[in-house]
Symmetry: C2
Subunit: 333 residues, 2 copies
């Protein structure tokens, strides 16, 4: 029977490699050692924030390909996206790497929606090597969504810091010894009427809880089936709300729950509620989670990326903030 929004992969495609690049401030992350490349300069030696954004993604793709001894000419599909208007950093990166390109947009949930579609292309036998992921660059995104960075506007404790990072995975047919993709759940856009763009964690928490419930009930699973259930990127505020909502649904909100946004910058209170941006969950999922799977610490994980589907214009016009969350389940077989 087909269940709406639910995917099961019989061939369990693998994540054979990942590539993660990040900006200089991201050295503050407790996960910085795991990133493949950290630039000394926020602009990565380019003239604009947007060019830096594209370069981070290009480098992440090249790194992820090199780890499977491949070059862009070996890749069948590129599935990436970002938060900038019309996704130009991804578009320019796609032009440079030259892989057939499908632009994906689910705001900060793009890392998982891209991964799901790459797994589907692989399962269908039409891809032997697909690159999937997402990116964000602090200055390029912040000046678009909120205020020019130079204003130094004071932010409330609920606000999150847009990460400068790009993260991609190389998705291949099943490969023994690597994390495999078993199933996934595509989220429904959820809108409970939140309007504050400086509290996106609260806006996204219901979408995360909804997708968690749909994934567990839809695939016949329970919290106890996983070593970790990681969301990204709710931040401190949203993570607490999400755990409350999940607890109300009867799920055991144990220490198995983690949030990429809450953890990204560690305990540094300068980042207020934590991290966000399409690169945040991508960078954590594709290092911390994959590394722990490869090391045998995690056997089965559920990743739920969350995205706030607002624009500066929709916010200025007084609209609410629709949110979405997509889930993907990985195992070591």
């Amino acid at each position: 029977m087909v269940a709406r929004g639910l995917l099961t992969f019989k061939t369990t495609p693998s994540i054979a490699a990942t590539g993660v690049t990040a900006g200089p401030l991201e050295k503050k992350s407790p996960f910085a050692d795991k990133f493949d490349k950290v630039y000394d300069d926020e602009r990565c030696g380019t003239k604009t924030n947007e060019h830096a954004h594209a370069k981070m993604m290009e480098d992440a793709c090249m790194i992820a390909l090199s780890k499977v001894d491949s070059v862009p000419g070996d890749a069948d599909f590129l599935l990436i996206g970002d938060l900038v208007n019309q996704m130009t950093p991804s578009n320019f990166a796609a032009t440079t790497v030259g892989i057939p390109y499908l632009g994906m947009f689910s705001a900060c949930a793009t890392s998982v929606s891209s991964l799901v579609m790459a797994a589907l292309l692989t399962e269908s036998g039409m891809s032997t090597c697909a690159i999937a992921g997402a990116s964000s660059q602090h200055n390029a995104v912040e000046r678009q969504f909120r205020y020019p960075v130079e204003y130094g506007s004071q932010k409330p404790a609920t606000s999150q810091w847009t990460v400068t990072a790009a993260g991609v995975a190389t998705v291949t047919p099943y490969k023994k010894g690597f994390p495999s993709i078993e199933c996934a759940t595509i989220g429904c856009a959820t809108d409970l009427g939140m309007t504050d763009p400086l509290n996106m964690g609260a806006a996204m928490a219901p979408a995360a809880a909804d997708t968690l419930t749909r994934h567990l009930t839809g695939h016949g699973k329970d919290v106890s089936d996983y070593d970790v259930i990681m969301t990204g990127d709710l931040g401190k505020t949203g993570f607490e709300l999400y755990k409350t909502l999940a607890g109300n649904q009867g799920f055991d909100v144990s220490e198995k729950f983690r949030d990429a946004g809450e953890e990204f910058y560690g305990a540094d209170t300068a980042f207020l509620s934590g991290a966000s941006g399409a690169g945040c969950s991508a960078a954590i999922f594709f290092t911390e989670v994959i590394d722990k799977m490869m090391a045998g610490d995690y056997k089965r994980v559920l990743l739920i990326a969350t995205g706030a589907l607002l624009s500066p214009l929709s916010f200025q016009q007084g609209d609410t903030i629709p949110c979405i969350a997509h889930a993907i389940e990985l195992t070591m077989k």
Copy 2:
């Protein structure tokens, strides 16, 4: 053998229905009679252009579902996108219809990239009813990409008019008597250095020619295999360039070639080089082409949607315009 960016659908999913809505000015289109709904008011009775944009898409989805005696609760996936920053019209429409939602962004090529992914989900057995398409609303898009509409800025003969329209298809497993999806080609982002946002046809023509070549050679086809090869939306300028490029590749640039942007507003010279916008090709493909297939006039068609992957910011910063084109092949079996 897997060929990069090429998809072949063994189960040949069908387009079981379509839904197309359009603004009042679109009554000038020679295809207006085929549209399911044409509003008397550009804002569709809502307060903003962006809300109108979302409403057009919601209505198109409901129409496409009603034609297969379905409601949103019966649909497994929604794959849509638009040109507005962060695709908020699609996001709000997704919230209203409540179908599990994958945001797709390939600018004006989104109608085909969405259709391809819907076919893939159907082929995999994970979808029995997917809604795929794209939309644009003149005022919402124009004021973002170029000048506020109220300026009434004079435009050059090469410029195109952003269409107010939404078009979607209901994709189901193979259904006798309806157009079926046989194969597709995902485009590579192509950039030959064009920088003029008022001549996007010229920027997109090389991407269309590249995808045409890759589709024909990749799938072992020739121009003679098709009743029509329709692009969207190159406009008069881009269409001529594309035919020249295709002719140079040795293809017979016969009367089989059509362009949705060139034809959308008929011979009315007020629209200069013709129409564009993600809704342009969607509205024409999902009426003119599908209707002709259902009537037996077309047995096999190739649709190539084209997109200019620029943003206002990338243009203002002096960047070139990367372009993309995705192809999908439909047959009546």
